[in-house]
Amino acid sequence: MSPATSDVNRSVEAVWRIEAARVVATLSRYAGDVGVGEDLAQEALLTALEQWPTMGIPEVPGAWLVTVGKRRLLDDVRRRAIFDSKRDELVRQAHGGQRRSEIEQERMDEDIADDVLRLLFTTCHPVLSRPARTALTLKLVAGLTTEEIARAYLVEVPTMAQRIVRAKRTLAEARVQFDAPMPEELASRLDAVLEVIYLIFNEGYVATSGERWTRPELCREALRLGRILAELVPAEHEVHGLVALMELQSSRLRARIAAGGEPILLQDQDRRNWDQLLIRRGLAALERADRLGRGLGPYGLQAAIAACHARAPDLKSTDWIRISALYHALAELAPSPVVDLNRAVALSMAYGPEAGLEMLDRITAEPALKNHHLTAAVRGDLLERLGRPKEARREYERAASLTENERERELLALRARPSG
């Protein structure tokens, strides 16, 4: 490949990153099907890779890709129409009936934004498993290649390719229309979209497996998807809540990892390494959620908690009383063992380790929490603060044996060692 060709290829990739969602969405609407829409878009991309090195990059590359895809679709339809008419001819001869003419309604090129939103609703459709939703969203909406997604999720490329093919097949078999959800299911479908975006973010923020503590590329993709969604549905307060949460958490990304790759906990982070630009963006997004006047949802509350940390110059001056109250509100709205656990930590910071331990004892009756590594780690920390080092060490050891993240295991094992 000549250097000029590889330059053009990189430009084609760049155009694709910008245009993928809109091209796939528009073609999916024409085809009425996401699987077909994506195939058409990929064919258009291949055509671009063939033709752009000689013809140059078109002035409006997105429209060029859509046009090529649409032409391909029309060719297919025409071919099928010929086939259909031949078949119908046979049917007519057999039954002497009249062929019902199928008139393909030419749809107007209306608002592309609506198409992108429909695309998100489809790739996050409840008929799909969660791993399928995240893979499909990254492929079709974020415009990542299968190789990039496989690398981010630490799986083999054929495995990821299979997952994407199967997801498209599932959508086709379930006859999922490329359409906006009915008004009565809009809220739950939007929740599903938010969940997928946050799943992608969290896989990057606290990698559940593998040797690396974070995979920031996934955080960035999730944040970009969140920002796109916030402009598509600006009146939805939880969208801004989620964006605020991700901006604020991202602001700490580079402070969370030591030079050797080991994780640094919030209390030990050098706050000068927090990204002030992302903090400002996060606080602005939180304000946007607030201004909609419907209170804060689970994401907004978590963002409000993250904002307390972001505003505090150090751990001591953090408003732990407010954080405890926010966790309380969160537990009411979206009860979960992890929220309870965090609430116990916040209580211990606001009112002392006894208060935290008391809450922890109350909630570990819950089986989901009892054998979670975080429960053991928190208990270890509280016991240490209460001057009970032997019990604390036992809890850290237990926590180390329960986690699946290598880096976290090292950190916990370190705390389990008697301090010198």
Partner: protein, 138 residues
């Protein structure tokens, strides 16, 4: 990765404040960047007549007030964007209405706008000793 896109309009101080039409076009462009989820921040800058240049040489600090009439390539504003490659930043710069406007006019003879694209340093771009220096000022 983050990129700064510096707008260098190459216009005179008198023409510095853009027309309502130009502002409307630029706002549409900024919205496009926002909707794509890539825009982190942006600003437009006053002309150099309201600025100053501070230099250190010959054993002293010198302050020169604007305008800098002899200077070329004066920055008019910037966008800070988060994208996945330099090529993507270039693609976005190409779509700027000031660039498009000048490019799409045959026999264009007006000021030639330039967008300079520069990648922002991340911590991991530095060698370990530089990284250490960046965090040991306490």
């Amino acid at each position: 990765m983050r990129f700064m896109m510096f707008m260098i309009p190459n216009i005179s101080e008198q023409d510095w404040v853009p027309s309502a039409e130009a502002v409307a076009e630029m706002t549409r462009y900024n919205e496009e960047l926002t909707k794509a989820g890539v825009l982190l921040s942006l600003d437009g800058l006053h002309p150099t007549s309201q600025g100053a240049r501070v230099t250190g040489a010959g054993g002293k600090v010198t302050v020169i007030d604007g305008p800098f009439t002899e200077a070329k390539e004066i920055i008019g504003g910037y966008w800070l964007i988060e994208v996945s490659s330099k090529e993507e930043a270039v693609e976005w710069a190409k779509r700027c209405p000031a660039i498009q406007g000048a490019a799409s006019t045959p026999d264009y003879s007006g000021p030639v706008p330039v967008i300079e694209i520069r990648q922002v340093f991340e911590v991991e771009d530095f060698p370990p000793e530089v990284r250490a220096a960046a965090t040991s000022t306490a």
